[in-house]
Subunit: 343 residues, 2 copies
């Protein structure tokens, strides 16, 4: 029995990369899309979410989620449309978000726990926003900032990776909470974007000059909350500017993900002692029971025009390996997504 | 006008040390003890407290307390007896603890805010215990563990510098809180002391073998609370063993205080992210309003025999520079104190 679908194409993990993932670390694989069994659906992937965390999933070893196995379809969040359904949960034509993996078609039980599909409402926001402000990056920003960073009105919030998916929402939410918001980003264009389009109070271009001098200028009252997406030297520099009882949210460390030497630990961590400050890690999945709350709040702000969800779209499924490298090179302004197909 | 006292002797800071403090970094100074003015007292110092934190006070630059100035009497906690008083606050013969500095006689207003003398009751515990379990190290351990570490019964608490002043009380208090307690210390004698005398469940000798293997063996359920007094490689190794929602109390980093290269930051700090754990600094002075509560609790345990305060006494005021180096070399078993005079 054949079906109506063209062959599924997939990027499977061929080898665990050393440093930056190369084309040879991927296996491009084609296979037929199975006819859905009772209770199953087929989702045609429209967009894939490219996230810094993906680099960690490619490594061996214990982490907050099991590594992608060699030969397995690369894990990724995605957004697609249901093109076949033998489940009452989803109808053909439903737009869904979930763990599709890096492939053109996802198929399996509609209630698959790993994919964890949810129906999204494209009238509330454009589809790509569901991979950004209304998706994992937005949830990460919203809960990470509010629950771990706990900023109070009038405090100064600094966020690195400010023009990236998580950073841009962190800054906008912090502004809404009445904070002074200073971004750190690489390049003049990103900094201008963050200040002019997103309403940050200031943005420090770490490629142009001294982050230290930038913090001194733009955080005259010191730093109360630092939301860190990058790690490395920038984390170390911010540590020298924190206030008493400051909170550092460790959300990621993109500067360290492709290093082939040892990760650079924060040499200035004793600033935590001096300032009775804390550094705390967060993983968005812990807030899954509260995503509805996060989506409702952020969607409301998007609809009243006070929150922007900006995506950087690379077109073409076959460009996945290149697009992932572009992410780690910081080429994206906004959330990096890969456009796989038209709806 | 002369008085009854022999000349006061002091160690003043002569130079800011590079690495381990040398004899030449001190100025040995003699001056007359002034006759007390109205409202003033003279305290004859009996014991001085030698603490790792002293090394930080010798450095220039912003910290939780201002640096000791060049030419100034070295800051130190001490215990002494009031030998002259023109204040109703203290009577001749009172035993007091406070910031005496490294000198034989302290003199000044009885209500001096920096010295902050408090009368102690030598019937409750031997005098040196007031510089240890009932003094700053005890308060550091008690509040740092309970308020920042927040261990729950049945959890595993690891403490480094386990045979030192703070570590020994941390472990004993954690045992009282129903935790499994594993120390880390340097040398077989210290480890035996900690287990056999203080009742720790186990102690890892970092000089004898792999801390990693020791943690694997003695913390089969992982580490819930790590109370860090040492920093460096040991902090990094413990980070690879922490549990979800672990709490790391940053109390000190004695391994790094005399380094002439950059402080070693914890390269494994991303374990905080993976485990949604936190690392938080503490400074005992923040708990000053609650010292009475801490002293009462710890004194009660000392009196019922369930808490030990062990001191390592070096005799002779003139040995201060050497004794301070011994502290950084980890020669002390228990709290390092310098005996200055007989009562």
């Amino acid at each position: 029995m054949t079906n109506a679908f063209p062959p599924n194409q997939q990027f499977r993990l061929a080898a665990r990369p050393l440093g930056m993932p190369r084309n040879e670390d991927w296996l491009f694989h084609e296979e037929a899309v199975p006819e859905p069994a009772e209770g199953a659906i087929v989702v045609k992937v429209l967009y894939l979410s490219l996230d810094p965390a993906m680099r960690g999933w490619m490594n061996e070893g214990k982490s907050y989620i099991r590594p992608v196995a060699i030969g397995e379809v690369m894990r990724a969040g995605g957004l697609g449309v249901v093109v076949a359904s033998r489940s009452p949960r989803f109808a053909v034509g439903d737009v869904v978000a979930g763990g599709t993996g890096v492939q053109r078609y996802w198929s399996g039980p509609a209630d698959d726990k790993t994919a964890a599909f949810t129906r999204i409402d494209p009238r509330i926001a454009p589809p790509t926003a569901w991979l950004n402000a209304l998706g994992m990056p937005g949830m990460t920003a919203f809960f990470g900032l509010r629950e771990v960073g706990q900023p109070k009105p009038g405090e100064t919030v600094v966020v690195s990776g400010a023009a990236g998916a998580v950073g841009m929402t962190v800054g906008q939410v912090a502004r809404k909470m009445g904070c002074r918001v200073v971004g750190i980003a690489g390049g003049e264009e990103k900094c201008r974007f963050v200040v002019e389009q997103l309403g940050f109070d200031a943005c420090i271009d770490y490629k142009a000059g001294s982050v230290h001098a930038g913090l001194k200028e733009h955080c005259p009252q010191g730093v109360d909350v630092y939301f860190d997406n990058v790690g490395g030297d920038i984390l170390d520099t911010v540590l020298t500017h924190i206030n008493m009882k400051a909170r550092i949210v460790i959300c990621g460390a993109i500067s360290q993900y492709n290093t082939t030497s040892q990760v650079k630990g924060p040499a200035n961590y004793l600033a935590l002692l001096v300032n009775r400050a804390r550094m705390e890690g967060m993983v968005v999945f812990d807030y899954a029971p509260r995503y509805a709350e996060g989506v409702a709040t952020l969607a409301g702000w998007m609809q009243d025009g006070s929150l922007k969800s900006v995506e950087y779209v690379v077109e073409g499924f076959e460009r996945f390996p290149e697009a992932l490298r572009m992410l780690f090179e910081g080429r994206n302004l906004g959330k990096m997504v890969l456009k796989v197909a038209e709806a």
